[in-house]
Symmetry: C2
Subunit: 213 residues, 2 copies
Amino acid sequence: MAVKVFGFVGSNATYRVLASLYEKNVDFELVTVNMAAWEHKRPRFLARNPFGQVPAFEDGDVSLFESRAITKYVAEAYADKGTSLKSKDLKKSAIEGVWAEVEAQKFDPATAKLTWELFFKPLFGMTTDEAVVEEFSKKLEPVLDVYEARLTECKYLGGDSFSLADLHHLPNTQVLMGTKVKSQFDARPHVSAWAADILARPAWVKVTSLLPK
Amino acid sequence: MAVKVFGFVGSNATYRVLASLYEKNVDFELVTVNMAAWEHKRPRFLARNPFGQVPAFEDGDVSLFESRAITKYVAEAYADKGTSLKSKDLKKSAIEGVWAEVEAQKFDPATAKLTWELFFKPLFGMTTDEAVVEEFSKKLEPVLDVYEARLTECKYLGGDSFSLADLHHLPNTQVLMGTKVKSQFDARPHVSAWAADILARPAWVKVTSLLPK
């Protein structure tokens, strides 16, 4: 099996990559990086990602890190397999690219803080900082307002087809659906329908089957 | 002239886009958005970018926002003009993509705070928060350590050729060279040489000629 993902169950960035591989029907091996044993900070893993963070990725002689760079590679390298995750039309692909950047620059900075405070901290026995939750819930509001307007125009963020722009949202959205932030999605009918739609994709359901129960 | 950039002199994200257009020898018109008159929050501009931030971009019937999405479009749409900013080889392009993500996820979050505190706040008559400067200078250290190691292996971050991965660093690097953060670059010979090299590119020198004197 040529494709290897070096990550672990519990890492949202790892899930982002797995979602792209399941969408593409690309066989892969998930090589667990033992974070508790600090494997991600040892030379062997640092040679794969000098920042010492999961996931890292290998496809034959291609070695990559940064989850969003990996999904782009998967979308292009396996363009003709499974779901098309990136339009072959330059204009459509550029618009998908805009909304992929919006995820990285606007959605992720707010939702990464919220998933940390509301899901991961309690999981690790730490106390949620409600002031941080309030601050970043407020920051998420205008982002979801823009999404609501966008999703009134087209079914997916990047256009009429599911693309990386939507896929990149899956891990944080999945986590937030189990928190009070769900009400912010629910308050917007198009955002709510879009979230339900992408979370129900068979490829994502396969990823969630790996989640700790 | 088909290509229009809606932005203003003083916006680092606008400069990122201008750098890509100068590298490609693509003629463009810079349409100034009057931020003082809140033009960026009015319906006409919000139709270009619903987040109300510069730059926005137009190329015939292609309308985009988010500076890094725009530069990618420019690199692909004008692939055969000027400097190649994105390799046509899938593997090389994927590695450039990794380092472009590193800029967005690691370099920019630290340096955007530093440019704000050390350059823009004094420019607007505001007081620099030295605690913030210290915090983000520290966060920049491991990023520059990784860059130093990477630039020992190859001349540019994405490989042996200049690419978007380097270009995206230009605006914040330009500003920081006029601050005490320069010493963090200078302390690393390969990072220092790389910064000097990319800042001296004729396309970037054209952008800097627009900077307020």
